[in-house]
Amino acid sequence: MSATELHVHNPVEDLLRQDRIPTIWCPGCGIGTSVNSFAHALLKQDIDLGKTAIVSGIGCSGRVSGYMNLDSFHTTHGRAIPFATGLKLARPELNVIVYSGDGDLASIGGNHLIHAARRNIDILVVCINNMIYAMTGGQAAATTPGSALSTTTPYGAFEPELNLVQLVDAAGACFVARWTAYHVVQLERTLEKALRKKGFRFVEVLSPCPTYFQRKNNLGDALQAMLDYKKRSRIQHGCPTWETALTPGGPIIVGEFVDREREDYLTRMRKQLGPHYSEFPPQLEESEPEGCSKEC
């Protein structure tokens, strides 16, 4: 019996804008895989999806916001986090998720990443790390492992890569984790947990980029990248983030590294202001029509 006959459908589809599928992603790109884990994690939450907003920057991963059937914001390159900060501050009841790539969040938007973690803005950041600028054609990123080839590092990169989980841990994020596109079930569980937590949460997802990163570095296709993740990954929950650096061919330390309690920005603001904060709702629309009431 087929799915249609049985009236079964893929629950992930409820969270996708059907009229936007197929995606622009290349065959074997891990971004779509991560979206499955994210969608399942969202569906398992007792949260109002009508009050869930997703914000992206620019790049391949930046397209995720536009495929999700949520309030979708596709902003400028690197600036998803400050946009999300504004959304969250203005409407605290929103669940705000930033879904973007390593180049977007950690290079051009690196400063915002640090400061949102420091402020402990109550948002979840999902960072797809494919170690390269893919949308623009395979240029080196701040996460490109040392000596790897890219179109702008034809002799290999001359600079070391950034360890994102260590960076956001140091900046004060209250939840920090890393998985790869291979770890679909673990990623779903971690995202479930991260969605429930308050404060700045950061989940890095290593993803194959078969078109640029894998091909340029003779690392095979996407499937090979996934098998490589399977082989090299070591699950070490609670591992100090300074011991999680990614090295070419070395072990990939994955797991939930940081889970700490810290007052988020708005909680701290309210507490510190105490009676000095007078709460009243914004007056954006006419509350009552002017002139005669309905009765007259």
Binding site: R17, D19, R20, G50, K51, A53, V55, G66, N69, L70, D71, S72, F73, H74, T75, T76, R79, P82, F83, A84, T85, G86, L87, K88, L89, A90, R91, E93, L94, N111, H112, I114, H115, M269, L273, H276, Y277, S278, E279, F280, P281, P282, Q283, L284, E285, E286
Partner: protein, 385 residues
């Protein structure tokens, strides 16, 4: 709709333009602001940071002006009125997000307290050097509205106007102050809240499922919905269709960009905001804006004493430029004289509109101080010949 009395400091005050601008924003219903410290604009957000908790609002000091200029757009899509404040170098950093606001039709206000440039230039001294940047600074074709106050009182009044226009047209509005305006202290009368008109957001009344976020209304401005209201809106800086979905082709680009320009162009007559004096029968009209309009007055008085028929025209709304008005005026006068605290920016637009029908004499000034009225007088005399 009237201003919320809880945010309006009704009364007579002796405050500077920065403080007046802050009070104007609060009266206009802006309870959210973001900024990054930069002279000579910082006093606005310093005051706002102190006032915000009283009105249930919030000021956040961001890590840079790039962040400031987009966090406010998040606030707007979250349902608030919001603004940011800066000066030249920060304004330069904000350009990309002025384009984003124009593209996504986000009603938001950018206050630029202009100082001498380029680069770090003259942090504490005046200039009007950002006028063309305010109009054309971000890449691509778009339209904005730019207002220029010439007194602390106007810093209050026109800030409210700036927010109202942003809401009406769903465009970023540039509030072009200058260091003199920011730091000049004068009497500012803040009227009772029920005498302050405040434009509400053009919020859709359609239920979720029946709302298309970029379906233009009769005046080409679409209705708006916020995040968290069940509409599942899609907002992107990419060229988009009426649903808000990316549509990367020439036809969609033509429809969208044309509308972004046309919604302002169509309203151009309504957006003419000028103050004129004795332009009927004038031989020469001095066209100016902001602090320079006050300096020019001295030269105008002196010229009149010398028997020259001089009128004045002060641009309150600089962008869009009062094209038709200038075209008609150029037919009637010998010369238009335009002093401005830059090396010739808005005068280019004046020349374009005058289209050779009269002399156009710019009185450029690199900034750092205001004009010597004698320079303007000399230009008036040249114009009258």
């Amino acid at each position: 709709m009237h201003a919320d009395p809880r945010t309006v400091l009704t009364g007579t005050h002796f405050i500077n333009g920065d403080a007046a601008c802050c009070e104007g924003a609060l009266a206009a219903g802006a309870r959210y602001a973001a900024g990054y410290p930069i002279t000579p604009s910082t006093e606005i957000v310093e005051r706002f940071a102190a006032r915000a908790p009283e009105v249930g609002g919030l000021f956040i000091q961001m890590e840079d002006e790039i962040a400031s200029s987009i966090v406010i757009q998040g606030m707007v899509w979250g349902g608030q009125k919001a603004f940011t404040v800066t000066s030249g170098p920060g304004f330069s950093l904000m350009m990309e997000h002025i384009g984003l606001a124009a593209m996504t039709e986000t009603p938001v206000v950018f206050v630029d307290v202009q100082r001498g440039g380029p680069s770090t230039g003259l942090p504490t001294l005046p200039s009007q050097g950002d006028m063309m940047q305010a109009r054309f600074g971000s890449h691509g074709d778009y339209a904005v509205i730019a207002l220029s106050p010439n007194s602390p009182q106007e810093c209050f009044d026109l800030t409210i106007k700036a927010f109202n226009l942003a809401e009406e047209f769903r465009v970023p509005v540039m509030f072009m102050m200058d260091e003199c305006m920011g730091h000049m202290t004068e009497k500012v009368v803040i009227p009772p809240a029920d005498q302050i008109e405040v434009r509400p957001r053009r919020h859709t009344t359609r239920p979720p499922g029946q709302f298309r976020p970029y379906e233009p209304g009769p005046d080409l401005v679409p209705e708006m919905a916020h995040a968290g209201e069940g509409h599942k809106i899609y907002v992107t800086g990419l060229t988009h269709d009426r649903r808000g979905y990316p549509s990367l082709n020439a036809a969609a680009q033509r429809e969208l960009v044309t509308r972004l320009l046309e919604k302002i162009r169509r309203a151009a007559e309504r957006l003419v905001m000028v103050e004129t004096d004795q332009i009927e029968g004038a031989e020469v009209v001095v066209v100016s804006y902001g602090i320079t309009s006050r300096v020019a007055l001295r030269a105008v008085q002196e010229a009149r004493a010398r028997g020259i028929k001089v009128g004045t025209l002060r641009l309150i709304c600089v962008w869009p430029f009062p094209e038709k008005l200038i075209r008609e005026l150029a037919r009637k006068v010998k010369a238009l004289v335009m002093p401005e605290l830059n090396m010739g920016q808005v005068v280019i637009e004046l020349e374009r509109c005058a289209a050779g029908q009269c002399k156009v004499i710019g009185v450029p000034h690199p900034g750092g101080t205001v004009h010597d009225p004698a320079e303007i007088l000399e230009a008036i005399e040249r114009g009258a010949q």
